[in-house]
């Protein structure tokens, strides 16, 4: 089904009772050219790019629950390309450019909203660091503007400019950043991939790998039976170590929980995305009016998809520090998601030492914005067996070679990235 103003008008006239399912809920075949494990944003995007860009359509996406039940449906939907290090800068901009044409490519309204991402700074040192990051972005052709306090006072008069310890002095703004509707991104890729013949198979948990005499992966064991595969790609964010272990691999990754929070709906207040620079708090406002916000990960290994109170308190304190008036808004909902925290805070996309098995992992808390870019470069790797140039530094062996991409300079301590 093709969506347009006309299909909308037609459906409206019939009381919206004529809408069809937007993608096929497939049953597994015996064999596929490529099997993708994980029906989150990355897995589905990979399948769509394989089919649309690289002409490989005999593809299945296997999802243990329902598509979008993992982080794709739990994140705070921020998209941006304001990274400072080689490897990340170009990759996230590739992804941003794909966000800008996603809705046309997929014929699906993903509510991509480029209303700006603003990182506040609170000291002279931080201003200089942000100026440097902005310059890095600009010499790479990415938009960035350093705003001073006077400019912010006009834009966001409610900020706590005179906070005793962390006065808001200004901010680094990427206007092309913003948010997208996370569920719609999942459904959009499913819609477009399914239309090109990709099988999306839910309630299908991968429980093991099938290997030939040489150790090459030739398929997967699943809760819905054995499925043969020419190649297998893992995109199981948060569960990467568990799935890799089935192939006898260990990864430079720890699984951690990140929480997200939504307040009751209020009138339009926050125009874009804002982050507190002296603690960890970021916020945007959804179209329904709720403030969507979050902060640090809880900080200990977890597979529980459930957060704890001290971080909630810390996040709310961060919010109060920059926007004191939100203290009067009530919290409506809170949840957690399990993410791969990698040893340098950057993702891993590569072949693995196991023949036929490919890895897409380590997205930390920033993988939503990467969804289209990750799908594209992973599909490139699966189809051509070579890294896309914008993902060339995300190799798995970079830790061994000392070629880490550590934006925060924290070292090999995953809970600090």
């Amino acid at each position: 089904m093709k969506y347009s103003i006309f299909s909308l008008a037609r459906a409206a006239l019939s009381g919206h009772k004529t809408w069809q399912r937007t993608w096929r809920d497939a049953t597994p075949k015996d064999h596929y050219d490529v099997v993708i494990i994980g029906g989150g944003g990355h897995g589905l995007a990979t399948a769509w790019f394989l089919a649309s860009e690289f002409g490989i359509r005999n593809v299945a996406v296997l999802e243990k629950g329902w598509i979008g039940s993992g982080n794709a449906g739990r994140n705070t939907t921020i998209i941006r390309s304001n990274y400072g290090l080689p490897g990340n800068t170009g990759f996230y901009e590739l992804s941003m450019k794909l966000w800008e044409r996603m809705e046309q490519d997929l014929n699906y309204n993903a509510m991509v909203s480029q209303r700006g991402v603003l990182n506040l700074y609170h000291s002279d040192g931080q201003r200089d660091a942000y100026a440097r990051r902005g310059n890095t972005m600009r010499i790479n052709g990415i938009d960035a503007e350093l705003l001073d306090q006077a400019a912010l006072k006009k834009m966001l008069p409610f900020l706590n400019f005179d906070h005793a310890r962390f006065p808001v002095q200004g901010g680094l703004l990427q206007r092309r950043g913003g948010t997208a509707r996370h569920d719609a991104v999942v459904w959009g890729y499913a819609h477009a991939a399914s239309a090109l013949g990709v099988d999306i198979i839910q309630n299908c948990e991968v429980t093991g790998f099938v290997r030939d005499a040489h150790g090459k992966v030739t398929g997967v064991e699943t809760s819905r039976g054995r499925i043969g595969a020419g190649k297998v790609g893992m995109a199981v964010a948060g569960s990467s170590s568990r799935v890799a272990a089935m192939a006898g691999m260990r990864l430079p990754i720890e699984s951690h929980v990140l929480q997200a929070f939504v307040s009751e709906a209020i009138k339009p207040l926050i125009p874009g995305v804002m982050t507190f620079g002296a603690g960890h708090f970021y916020v945007s406002q959804s179209d329904k009016g709720g403030l969507v916000f979050g902060g640090d990960i809880d900080g200990y290994n977890s597979y529980a998809q459930r957060g704890n109170l001290p971080v909630m308190e810390d996040v709310c304190e961060g919010g109060m520090a920059i926007i004191p008036m939100i203290g009067r808004v009530r919290l409506l909902r809170q949840w957690g998601g399990i993410m791969d925290m990698s040893m340098d805070g950057s993702p891993i996309i590569d072949r693995t030492p196991v023949d036929g098995l490919y890895l897409n992992a380590g997205w930390c808390y920033g993988g939503f914005k990467a969804t289209p870019g990750s799908g594209f470069v992973f599909a490139h790797l699966l189809a051509r067996d070579e890294m896309h140039k914008e993902a060339a530094l995300f190799r798995l062996d970079r830790f061994q070679r000392g070629a880490m991409i550590d934006e925060k300079g924290q070292g090999a301590q995953p809970n600090l990235h």
Partner: protein, 91 residues
């Protein structure tokens, strides 16, 4: 989640800092690059019961060895980490 410190009693999570899996051991100085790489970067990332290092910075400032289930957050044992801080004094 609350942790029962063997020195301070039951305390809220905010008083503690997490280091991680207690299993990796620093290799000997002459162990070679692969052993160091393994120690610094590779993790079992256990889904289930794990032995972990926690620091009670908001209390007795001891390093603790906590046995915890990463699937449920249930803590089954807390002991002083060998040779650390208050563990020496208390023992």
């Amino acid at each position: 989640m609350r942790i029962v410190c063997p020195f301070c009693g039951e305390r809220e999570l905010g008083e503690f800092t997490y280091l991680g899996d207690a299993k990796p051991q620093r290799p000997a100085a002459d162990a070679g690059e692969d052993a160091v790489y393994d120690y610094v970067y590779m993790r079992d990332n256990i889904a289930g019961v794990m032995s972990e290092n926690w620091y009670h910075g908001g209390g007795c400032r001891s390093w603790l060895k906590v046995t915890r289930n990463t699937l449920t957050h249930e803590i089954s044992a807390v002991e002083a980490a060998a040779g650390a801080g208050a563990a020496k004094v208390g023992a």
